[in-house]
């Protein structure tokens, strides 16, 4: 199709304005702000205890002690850091995995089947999103202690299983991403409900599921308040509580100065989660925007 006026050319390049240098500078400032503490952490994880306090924070110290620090972090206190890491993995796999599974099944069910009281369920889910986790944590603790569940792994896993936000996301996502006609076609072809779900719906829902899984993983990996109140046995701690424990040990009265372990431990704690985010970015970016991108 030809247009009379070339100025209205529909090619993308015509719509794309010039690069803006000032805008780039502003955004670079944002980026520096976002990276500053991470860079600080990375650099200081390579320093010895003495260098941390005596040398300039954003440059390397006199010795490169990263490997020594890592070894010491992993072996300090009979390798308790590795126990914390293993605990965190258990909480993430059981809690976030379970939360994703439940949110997917429930969200899909709510999106694709109609039943009486659906509007009420929707209202309850929305309300549940607004109830902050920390407000529930204290009552949950009191209740769990009646049931004898505190100071066990279940105390962390069970509350992690519920993700109203994840359910909501899958619900909204499934309404758009899984065409009802497709499900009906599958039913006509004689596929059972479960078969339909696993062969047709699951594939279409994948970006949404990855998004929910990723947010559940982050929430569980980073959870602090819940384990703080539920657990008092260091053998059950996740990394977040363990690190704070070390930090208290380093700053408290009669302290054992292990700042270098707190710093190196922090670095080791964020590496897996950052890698997960970067590897899965294609999925979560499309999952997050898919709900809103419809033309």
């Amino acid at each position: 199709m030809k247009r009379a006026a070339p100025a209205f050319d529909r090619s993308p390049s015509a719509l794309r304005p010039r690069r803006s240098i000032p805008l780039g500078i502003v955004m670079a400032v944002f980026l520096i702000y976002a990276f500053l503490p991470l860079v600080w952490l990375l650099i200081n994880a390579t320093k010895t205890q003495g260098d941390i306090s005596t040398t300039f924070g954003l440059w390397f110290g006199s010795e490169f002690a990263l490997w020594d620090n890592i070894v010491e972090t992993l072996t300090y206190g009979d390798g308790i850091f590795l126990t914390w890491l293993a605990n965190t993995m258990i909480y993430v796999i059981a809690g976030a995995g379970g939360a994703t599974l439940l949110a997917t099944l429930a969200g899909y069910g709510l999106a694709k089947y109609s039943f009486p009281g659906k509007r009420a369920v929707f209202a309850i889910v929305l309300g549940a999103i607004a109830v902050p986790g920390t407000a529930l944590a204290v009552p949950t603790f009191l209740m769990f202690s009646q049931l004898g569940l505190t100071n066990t792994m279940w105390a962390i896993i069970i509350p992690s299983l519920i993700s109203p936000f994840g359910l909501y996301l899958i619900w909204v996502y499934a309404v758009d991403a899984v065409p009802t006609e497709l499900l009906e076609a599958a039913r006509v072809d004689g596929a059972g409900e479960f078969r339909t779900f696993f062969t047709v719906a699951l594939r279409l829902l994948a970006p949404g599921i990855v998004t929910v899984a990723l947010f559940a993983i982050v929430a569980t990996w980073n959870n602090y308040f819940l384990p703080l109140i539920m657990l008092n046995d260091p053998q059950l701690f996740p990394l977040t509580i363990g690190l704070q424990q070390w930090n208290l040990q380093a700053t408290g009265v009669g302290s054992d100065p292990i700042f270098h372990l707190v710093i190196t431990g922090s670095l080791l704690t964020i590496i897996p989660i950052v890698i997960a985010f970067l590897l899965l970015q294609r999925f979560w970016q499309s999952g997050l925007s898919a709900g809103s991108v419809k033309q």
Partner: protein, 274 residues
Amino acid sequence: MVVFALTFIAPLVYSVYLSLFRDQLVGGNVFVGLDNYAQAFADEKLLEGALRVGAFLAVQVPIMLVLALIAALAIDSKRLAGSSLFRIGLFLPYAVPGVVAVLMWGFIYSERLGLAGDVNDTVGFDLMTPLSGDWILFAIGNIVTWEFMGYNMLIFYSALRAVSHDVYEAAAIDGAGQFRIIWNIKLPALRGALVIATIFSIIGSFQLFNEPNILKSLVPTLITTFYTPNMYAYNLSFVGQQVNYAATVAIIMGVITAVIAYVVQLRGTRGGAR
């Protein structure tokens, strides 16, 4: 559904139940009706904490949301080289555990170990004292902003991407400049996302706990056990053993949060086209 009931409904009901009782030296656990609530409303510690998070909310949330908005608009403007780097880079802090974020910033703030100390050494006097009484709330605000700015940016950016390109084209043909487009097209398109982000930020502010509680180990004298209502509830139930009163405080704060979030939602959606 069973799990949902166990972790959501039951704790709520149980805490309401708890809030109506009181453990007394004489007579043990007795039903006291709304006495705990009367006590809470007259409690200066709770009031102080609530006012503090209120002030925090009024300053930190607008700053964070405006910064996130600027970042989202900049990335969406297509006038930026390497916009995906900025998008992912700014979002990265969200993935960092809150504990680690506070520890990192805490070290940086520290005058003995961190950058603040380095700056002070350079200029020769105490220019930066983020861990002092005047600045501690700003120090906390900075940590929270750092953690959640990228997350909010991504919400805004997703909403902006939903705007059809035809609209921009039509506006450009009509002679609208960049700022005109932002004001008349992009901001109205962001209305829903702004409401959601504001509500989540309000909830987050009222529930402020992790940051002050971890910073407390660095500055035990500045951050009291009732610094925020959530810390107050935590300390009441785990240090003071006053579980009934703690449940009362938790319920009051929950109700206040819900009411404010609801008002924001009403005001945000009213007048919108939808």
